[in-house]
Symmetry: C4
Subunit: 379 residues, 4 copies
């Protein structure tokens, strides 16, 4: 057999398939520094709330900023389509399962109101919080100037898959170096999952890259399109692109792993794989302060012809502060995420996130229950 | 240990175990060309409805042709054994589970009526549709002339496993070069799964190869015989045979991945693995216009001594047009298959099916749920 | 890391993880020859019923011989401990689950009656059947002469793990070359799973080797002892030992894969892995003619201090003839095992068992359901 | 792709993924010697009961010592915080599931009473038993002198992850060579999982190492922190460190695999992977004599801000003697652990634990059910 001509398939790995190996030296958790920087902004925790309507509204963005992190407001969601988004969010939460997708398709067919963009941004800024906003590539040229005028701090361009170069007959694609010239804010772009796509994005001069396609709780991209790379491999590959770009440009641009997180252990693994920060969706949709009222849905769901995602019930499990810092009586890893990260860094002897990037991981399938069967059947 | 003398086992992959990696360049979905050619026939969508009684009858074949694809009529099924096949199909749909297999064994024991072959073909042709018909190798010599006389357009010779050379004491096996001489239609042959078997079939001068043994929803070949190769590996291997044959003959003969498809993501992966078209069974059995009345069964099931397959309830989920082109509110990938393919090609920057053959895939087991557990428990 | 000093672990495979790749040439199933030879005995089907009390009694042995195969009578089971074993078998079948193991421990504590050994053997011989009997290594010296005197045809020495050399302070281990001298029958020995253990057994001059430790339906050796090699790897390795022994001695000694079979597909894979014959337990316990009355249990279960195995309900699914040759309406591969084997050989173009040894197999985990989910939920 | 710069992930294995290959020579189980030595102490069985409150109290330690093994008393658990620990243990057993974690957090917030340490140790010693006690690294300097004064025999320093060097600003870390000078007892330290971390610990001059992070039945470290290495790989790696240390120092220091054991087969695999002894928790919590009253919980569970572990119901299945030596009617491998070990050594022809270290193992996923499906559905 002439095997040379056959397509090669590389093995990739998700959160559930790897585990962190503790170090030869350990450290006190309170010794660790977990700062995260985007351009001139420094955050005391490397955790970002995602630009999803069930997660981030004005109040949530202010609270997240106060707690040391960052939340991104979606400029194409219900917050900028409705004067009173609470009503719409309540309607979504009350819809029966079978009607949720058509209802979302209808709600997101309303137009975006430019004036609401300014109002939301200013409400966040007025509270003294850092304001990050997100738009899809197709709407960037129209919405970026409005966001800039309202003095948003960080501008996120995000779609399921974003590349440095987009082919279209009907319109001229978004050129990131041009965008950088036109607005004064640092730009974060995503999502991507491969070494080469990430490197091409970094070379456009942006300030951050979002990593992850397909893994989120409210996303069915992999089922519908067959597209997606598990998060550990995606993070490892994009971290390698970041390091390559650092060596060729001298600039350290952070990569942010986005999607699929449910608990502290996964977050720790993302950093061990090379992430500078993580973006969480469904975990924060469980917070008492989140606007989703115990529900969560993906932002590519409302596509009128090819919805990808489902509305899911996530419940409300605690305050945002508890989710981030504890204390907690929950033992499944869904609360005190910062405590988990610092403890994991401690047992690895990693004093900074960049040291955490260097710790060893092994492939260790979760399928190996090893004595866990009692837990499952415990009553 | 003298390991050299031990049998080697190569790893193979199915749909659920791989994922497509998006490209460094993206493209607009409406920019993509997904034409599929068999000899002088060009279809605007690379999707074929399989020669199964729950999927293709005269009306379904006409509709599929109008929508740009192709449907294959089984010349050895109920359509050519019964003057009024609707009655029989209704009887199958109404049988209790425990009686379904014996009933099918009985129904398929009725003889094929030559006159019905002509009638069915002419009904399809009269509507202006492309007419493809299929027979098993054993009946090819008898039925091919009848199909030719009725002016069928494309002739499919199909069994679970078909090879270029068949050993038998009792009869002289089917010789494909001879068959090509005897009938004027392009011939598609299948199924096969390996590089060498596919290459031998291509060298007989046929116009297309069906790829896939064992993966279908209504097929238990792998349980009963232990035989079968998962579809991604089978497609990769047969695509390599196609490329080899192209390099030795200058002719590009399409390979058609057949069996096991449930949703758009799998279809996209088949093209990324090298397929020129896909053949769908159970997905189309779910169409409002399909003759199976919400049920589906494999054509090797009715074997009197060794049935392989089960009648399964697939339900009716939408019109054929919705399944192919949407729009849809279903988020599991079972509808708008063409939209899914074009979107996947877009995120990969592939403007043609042949460019789609070159995109990267990774091994990414579906077992890695990564945040999907909420979906499963969502109520 | 000095990886050189770390213990290496080789990957092994079971039935569910592999699949047979069809050949470039196919053949008619009725063209295939599936004869199996042990010394001067030739059987027309390569299938042996195991020496378990739920499977083989005098009547079953006679029937199996008539159908072309072989059944092995356990000389240490209920047939030689009880004048009227039917009573005891009925008691076992009627015991509640919680009492099954203690009951079996009690039943098998009764002594073996030498006179019954002779009676059972002669009953089989009188019917014109080939009579194979089995004993454990520890009892071989005592029971072999009795079996020889009663003119058994084939003598099987079987325990969970049998090696060519056994270390003991308290007694002198069984020496197979000595045993060969002392009794006139061909000797089959097992079980073993590795290349070297099998080769050492072959070098003692025996006439057949049983392959398989731990995989049986009624066996928990792997849970209790951690010992066992999946059947495909065990068969491949022992087939390599057989070929090695052939090259050094000129003698072709058959290997018999024993344990873990449930359906035709698995049986076909065992032959593709190199087996000359297969030994079935639980599949035959399902036969109308088997003495287990719908139940099955392992022969190492009754160990008084460390039972390994459970009594399981297997049900009664058909006659032995149906299980072997069909016809059947069952589509799960549990009936018409010979038809399945011949059909699989046909699609592989293998005309003899030895040609079947050469067909390609791939690793193809059953976990890849590929469209099988409908089957699971089909109602 | 510049793959050289990407993080590498090594495959690791747990109990369920491997199996022991029997040897070419077998031996009588009663021929095997399974002695285990720590410094000048020799135990006739290589099995240690873990320092968990549901497992070891004074009576259990005495019984375990009489039966030839060792039990470790936790000096920071309920036995040294409460004059009457039985009351507290009963309260834990009676708490509803939802209140178990907060209750444990409260119970373990009571201070340790120095006088109780002395009383417990002396009660064990008075009975003629070997007394092993355990403390966490942070409390070692305070509690070690008290344990030494009370004449404990073996001193265990144990936390989830313990390294030879700990970084802290707030206090001076524990220095094991200093500890060795200050107390006269042999010191066992753990837990660790990697070659290098184990080797560093061995080089501090201690007398034993505990191996295992994350696998225990009552532990969720891997979920919460993402940290952990499956036990087979951890044992293989640490056994390599032991052998390396032997070659550089001439001293053979035992490694003790700790956590995740449920049945005999797993224990046998740990020895085949290189363990000199095993430490069991949940299996012994099932003993009639254990203080947990049918419940079990991890000692890192009570952490007030980040609990890792759950209280689980394990039930009471037999006496400690039955669990260790049988006889038993249980066929799942949870009883007669010593019998299982000796039998496994027998089929491998291993006469000592060190010979057992050399037996072959294969990767053989438990997912390969091979005929086990009947067991699951057996009624």
């Amino acid at each position: 057999m002439a095997t040379g001509q056959f397509k090669q398939l590389r093995r990739s790995y998700g959160f559930d398939e790897v585990a962190i190996v503790p170090g030869d030296v350990t450290a006190n958790p309170d010794q660790t520094n977990i700062d995260f920087k985007v351009d001139n902004f420094t955050f005391t925790i490397p955790i970002i709330a995602s630009a999803m309507d069930a997660v981030t509204d004005v109040n949530f963005a202010i609270l997240m900023s106060k707690l040391g992190g960052l939340a991104v407001l979606n400029l194409e969601g219900v917050q900028t389509r409705y004067d009173n988004p609470e009503e719409v969010l309540s309607e979504i939460a009350q819809a029966p399962d079978t009607e949720a997708t058509p209802l979302l398709q209808k709600i997101y067919s309303q137009p975006i109101k430019d004036n609401l963009i300014g109002e939301r941004i200013q409400a966040i800024k007025k509270a003294g919080a850092v304001c990050a906003v997100s738009v899809a590539p197709a709407n960037t040229k129209r919405l970026a100037p409005i966001a800039a005028e309202a003095k948003a701090d960080i501008f996120v361009v995000q779609s399921t898959v974003t590349s440095a170069k987009h082919i279209s007959k009907s319109y001229r694609g978004l050129i990131f170096p041009e965008l950088r010239q036109s607005i004064p804010m640092p730009i974060i772009v995503g999502n991507c999952v491969s070494y080469s796509a990430c490197l091409e994005l970094l070379r456009t001069g942006i300030s951050g890259v979002l990593v992850g396609i397909g893994p989120g709780a409210a996303c069915t991209t992999r089922e519908v399109l067959g597209v997606g790379v598990p998060q550990i491999t995606a993070t490892i590959d994009c971290a390698a692109a970041r390091d390559k770009y650092l060596s060729e440009s001298g600039k350290y641009i952070p990569i942010i792993t986005d999607g699929g997180f449910r608990k502290g252990g996964e977050l720790c693994k993302a950093f061990a794989a090379g992430a500078d920060a993580v973006m969480l969706g469904s975990v924060f949709a469980q917070a008492k302060e989140s606007p989703g009222l115990g529900y969560h849905w993906g932002m590519s769901l409302p596509h009128p012809a090819l919805p990808r995602g489902t509305r899911i019930k996530v419940g409300t499990t605690g305050t945002l502060e508890q989710i981030l810092f504890g204390p907690t009586s929950v033992t499944d890893g869904s609360q005190n995420l910062v405590g988990a990260l610092r403890t994991a860094m401690g047992v690895c002897g990693a004093l900074t996130i960049q040291e955490m990037h260097k710790v060893e991981m092994v492939v260790a399938p979760a399928i190996t229950t090893e004595g866990k069967s009692w837990q499952l059947s415990a009553t």
